[in-house]
């Protein structure tokens, strides 16, 4: 067991998903805290989506912010991707992945809304084809 832990925590780095902590108690506590935070954020999301209590135009932004927070909670407490020095490679790969994700989603929405905006209304196109 201790050999394994030493191999896992050599100074070369940690594998994604491996923890710095090797004792069972704190690890268990980490998962419990993660689960608690995730449930709290999920419940807030579902509550906000159906409520009349908050300013309505803020709801989509709030849902997206809550989703990002929950993804962060999952990354830290379940996947153990942290900002620790030996986690640098994992974090850099994640950062690159996120860059591509934001380019794809943001770029698609931007381009498509621009096209929609500049496109002639459908009736006019139909008239021109006559």
């Amino acid at each position: 067991m201790s050999d394994q832990v030493q191999e896992m925590h050599s100074h070369v780095g940690v594998a994604p998903g491996d923890e710095e902590e090797a004792r069972v108690g704190p690890r268990l506590l980490g998962y419990v805290v993660g689960l608690g935070l995730a449930i709290l954020l999920t419940a807030t999301s579902f509550f906000i989506a159906g409520t009349e209590l908050v300013w309505q135009p803020s709801i989509p932004v709030a849902i997206i912010v809550l989703a990002m927070a929950q993804m962060g909670v999952h990354l830290v407490f379940f996947l153990h991707i942290t900002t620790g020095a030996d986690n640098t490679n994992n974090v850099l790969a994640l950062a690159f992945g996120l860059l591509i994700v934001f380019l794809v989603i943001g770029g698609s929405l931007w381009i498509m809304s621009n096209l929609n905006h500049n496109m002639m209304p459908m009736e006019q196109i139909m008239q021109m084809q006559r």
Binding site: V12, P16, G17, A49, I63, Q70, G97, V101, I105
Partner: protein, 216 residues
């Protein structure tokens, strides 16, 4: 080879931490567990990039209902909440299985994995029921561009969960037959990463597809 290139080849280009230290210690390549985990992490990130394309097409096609039903008319948020609970709890039990494997407790490991499997199957059953209900109401993937994008995105996640359950059963059988060998522990590490990543994608699905989709 010159001395310089030799020194570079023997150094650790992957060891970014070495840069912070004044003395660079050369102790060979990284352990296999780190190399395997890192490679699988790269695969997961590419999988997430693939999902982002499905999310982008869903977001673009959200309003294109072709006169058919919109998300607000179709989605049953109670069922989505139940699916979310199943997947969240299964992520937790998967974490318990990782701990049990690290302390070499076969009984706790098999129990936690079985719980993960049951929760995953419950998730799939709820999702299947939802899909069947939608198709029965005439809101199948062929009805509108919005529904095509919906079935593609949520169905793709469901396929990943199904594949994950097959992998989970394989890991239970491998530990049963071969015990906690180093190679099997590496596969377990990858499986746990896969399962937790699926949960992260589900967070995006229920937020963007269901909660935002039913607001429109």
């Amino acid at each position: 080879m010159t001395d310089t290139t030799l020194a570079f080849a023997q150094g650790e280009p992957h060891n970014l931490r070495g840069m912070h230290e004044s003395v660079v210690v050369d102790d060979g390549p990284a352990p296999k567990r780190i190399v395997t985990g890192y490679g699988f992490w790269i695969f997961l990130l590419s999988d997430i990039v693939m999902f982002s394309c499905f999310f982008a097409s869903y977001a673009v096609l959200l309003g294109q209902t072709a006169g058919g039903p919109s998300g607000a008319q179709l989605f049953d948020l109670k069922s989505v909440a139940a699916e979310t609970t199943c997947l969240l709890l299964s992520s937790f039990t998967c974490g318990l299985a990782s701990i049990a494997a690290d302390v070499r407790s076969v009984r706790w490991y098999q129990m936690a994995m079985a719980a993960t499997c049951v929760l995953g199957l419950a998730f799939l059953a709820l999702e299947g029921r939802e899909f069947v209900g939608l198709v029965a109401r005439g809101a199948g993937p062929t009805r509108s561009a919005f529904l095509s994008a919906f079935f593609a995105l949520v169905g793709c996640h469901g396929m990943h969960v199904s594949a994950g359950i097959l992998w989970l059963l394989t890991m239970m059988a491998q530990v049963f037959a071969k015990g906690f060998r180093a190679d099997i522990l590496r596969r377990l590490l990858c499986f746990a990463l896969f399962w937790h990543a699926l949960d992260i994608i589900w967070v995006a699905v229920f937020s963007i597809v269901y909660l935002l989709g039913s607001a429109v």
